[in-house]
């Protein structure tokens, strides 16, 4: 080969490559029926029972189906179940599956799969644990039927099986569901509307779901997790983007189609773009929380906790979290999600108006001796960082001695479990938030529980709260539920189980060539069309 021949062939090869002659489509040039979605966080694992992060739950809702699904009126509706029957004494539930349901590996869904899945789920879920505590027997009856016998009635059975709070009672094949609930599963096979393409999964970068051709949707119209889950695209690609500005640019450039949680600061740019829709993502929003340690001074003293509640101005917190957009927050004189059927403000007056003088008086009466308040504040989460800054200022304003520990969420996650005194590796307060979907009633609201040692971090011990939680579980109708919730809210405020810092929402944004996006507690991909 002479020099001229070599140059010719090299140039030819270079041109072919450069013009894409040798190329496969790039990410931005995927087929039109691929919906590219930027989720709230990285899908780092994919076992919705072992790991209860919301992002896992959201992905799992595509792959695994549930027996019941919650609708937008917060009512449990049949999903995989064809019929259910409860005995007159309320002690025996008999369920029957819809026929023809299949797993992604082609095997039929049977009652054995359901029973194994419920056993695994009930070992991890708060409502599942309640069921286990009163369980006599959970066993298959025939191929499609199973029976759950209890020692005492459990009126919230259908809610437990339908709820969207993690962990949901997803149904897996028996061989997978038999995995210890504290060990990760290694196969991701469900009977949901999409298959998980494990080989395409790059944790931290991408997760891919493909339409499951044999899925048998219900005939009813889709409504949140209920109804027919009709998938109208071939593939859904989750593109993980840790940087909000990059995600915003990618959405504007048409490289992604739908962004679950745009940063509030970037929303005006997106709203101004001709090809992008912006609307509230999850209408159930979030409840901001100032969580106090009830075991040690100063917050083991009720008057100190009340002093903080009296001085707290929720608007300060909410402005710090969401900025100037008034559509994104509401004052919350209580603990439960506004706009939901059981919402109550009973006993919440203390949160309606800030009174610093009264707070200082309460603090003086409490005998507070200047003990340091160890504020463990995660700086890598925008919401906790913003709330932490407001708290430091608030506590100082009423004369408290603030020891501000700026750290990351990973550290907060382990430190908050420490029951040692604040000066010895423990803590006095930390900030977090609770998904509004968890706060519509006490069923999945672990943060409202006040059963001492068994309670959530901070370990409040308030028998009146626990009594009302029990009353709500045993309520026979909506009126009884509402009454119990009112008393529960009052007791929780009076005893300051924790300090709610307000209710806030977030936006979602999607390209205008995508239709069918709805607001909900998680992103619903059914009925979403592209092109």
């Amino acid at each position: 080969m002479d020099r001229r021949t070599f140059l010719k062939s090299a140039t030819g090869a270079g041109m072919a490559a450069a013009t894409g002659g040798l190329a496969m489509p790039a990410l931005a040039q995927s087929p039109a029926k691929t919906l590219r979605f930027v989720p709230q966080a990285n899908l780092a694992n994919f076992d919705p029972i072992w790991g209860t992060q919301y992002v896992v739950r959201n992905a799992a809702a595509l792959v695994w189906d549930t027996l019941y699904g919650i609708d937008s009126k917060f009512q449990p509706q049949r999903q995989m179940v064809e019929t259910e029957e409860v005995s007159s004494d309320g002690l025996t539930w008999t369920f029957k599956l819809r026929s023809g349901l299949k797993f992604h590996d082609g095997t039929p869904v049977t009652s054995k799969d359901v029973v194994a899945s419920l056993v695994r789920w009930s070992a991890r879920d708060p409502m599942g644990l309640m069921l286990r505590a009163i369980q006599v027997e959970l066993a298959p009856v025939d191929e499609l039927t199973w029976k759950w016998s209890l020692k005492q009635p459990f009126p919230k059975m259908l809610l437990a099986l339908a709820k969207n709070n993690a962990p949901c009672s997803f149904v897996m094949p028996e061989r997978i569901a038999k995995t210890d609930p504290f060990t990760q599963i290694t196969e991701y096979i469900g009977s949901g509307p999409m298959k998980f393409l494990r080989n395409d999964w790059v944790p931290g970068a991408k997760a891919v779901f493909e339409k499951f051709a044999d899925y048998k949707p219900r005939s009813e119209k889709a409504d949140w997790l209920a109804g027919g889950k009709n998938i109208l695209v071939d593939r859904v690609e989750w593109v993980i983007m840790p940087d909000a500005a990059t995600a915003a640019a990618a959405l504007q450039n048409g490289e992604v189609d739908w962004w679950e949680t745009p940063l509030a600061d970037l929303v005006p740019v997106l709203k101004g773009h001709k090809d992008i829709n912006v609307d509230i993502g999850d209408p159930l929003g979030n409840v901001g929380a100032f969580r106090m340690n009830h075991l040690f001074p100063p917050f083991n003293n009720l008057k100190v906790r009340q002093a903080v509640l009296t001085a707290l101005n929720q608007e300060d917190y909410m402005r710090a979290v969401v900025g100037d957009d008034d559509k994104l927050w509401k004052p919350l004189p209580g603990f439960f999600t506004p706009g939901t059927p059981l919402y109550t403000e009973e006993g919440g007056d203390i949160l309606k108006k800030r009174n610093v003088a009264e707070a200082k008086k309460l603090l003086a009466e409490s005998g507070y001796k200047g003990e340091p308040v160890v504020c463990v504040v995660a700086q890598d989460m925008a919401a906790t960082k913003s709330m932490g800054d407001v708290t430091a200022s608030l506590l100082k304003s009423i004369g408290m001695n603030v020891d501000f520990v700026a750290t990351d969420w990973g550290t907060v996650g382990s430190r908050r479990a420490q029951k040692t005194p604040p000066g010895q590796g423990g803590w006095s307060m930390f900030h977090t938030w609770h998904a509004g979907a968890d706060c519509i009633n006490p069923a999945a609201y672990t943060a409202i529980r006040a059963n001492g040692d068994k309670a959530w971090f901070g370990w409040p011990d308030v028998p009146a709260v626990e009594t009302e939680v029990t009353n709500w579980f045993n309520a026979k109708d909506l009126a009884e539920e509402k009454a119990a919730m009112g008393r529960l809210n009052k007791a929780a405020v009076e005893n300051v189980v924790f300090a709610p810092t307000g209710f806030y929402l977030g936006y979602q944004a999607w390209r205008k060539n995508v239709t069918g996006v709805v607001s909900g507690p998680l992103p619903f991909f059914w009925d979403v069309k592209k092109g």
């Binding site: 991890r124 593109v239 940087d243 995600a247 990618a250 490289e255 990351d408 996650g413």
Partner: protein, 313 residues
Amino acid sequence: MLSFVVRRIITTIPVMAFVALFVFSLLYIAPGDPAAIIAGDQASPADVERIRASLGLDRPYLVRFAEWSFRVIQGDLGTSIFTNLPVTQLIAQRIEPTLSLMVLTLIFAVVVAVPMGVVAAWKAGSWVDKAAMGFAVLGFSVPVFVVGYLLAYLFALKLDWLPVQGYTPIAQGFWPWLRNLILPAVTLGLVYIALIARITRATMLEVLQQDYVRTAQAKGVAQKDVLFLHSLKNAAVPIVTIIGIGIALLIGGAVVTESVFAIPGLGRLTVDAILRRDYPVIQGVVLMFSLVYVLVNLLIDLTYTLVDPRIRY
């Protein structure tokens, strides 16, 4: 030469052993608990404890270190706590984007910075020199993420020439691969250009004062030959050294660049693992980067013999 290489490779063993011990110990004493992150907010302390036990995190330090070291010696870096995937598989998934980014950045930076430094030295004190050094100061001063956002805004959003984010494997075509990497490589390359250009200029200034340069010029050798054949070759050792040292800069810079351009590389893997306390992944990646760095240094030492025949091992 061969005995030098063998000697150097043998000396990497204690270095790697120390790095392994250091990283393992650091993570052991660092705050944070992956079990608490896995368990989520609904979990009870008992649940967290059971997860910790199932992951083997409740066992004594020495037992865990011994087990991990034994596996590492066998080439097994362990399994990610979160993804349940082998660390080697996670690294294998991520190595191509990072390697591509680093190689492209290196090529871009060397191609721009070395001539820039040479010309700046040749025209020392002139506006060319001042412009080049001003650019270098800018390269050092402007944070990588700011450069990244500006470039993405201009070339992706405004001009629509290049994509904002992502990575396409080279197996799917050269142009798609290159297209995704141009902006990240330019972004990451700026600081590297600044570093190499400044060192090149300083070294060249010294060389250009040498008698043999004056002799070459007196003999009527063309200026470009004086600069690039006679002078640059003699200035090459410090330049090669700084290029090698700069690899560490690249590794650090890749973390930010990969985040800004959503490139699924090792930098992002490391940051994600640190935030989640995914100990096996952190240990594996740090160990691998240390090995790369040791090998790069060995390569630099060997390169000296190519650019300066007086150096022999």
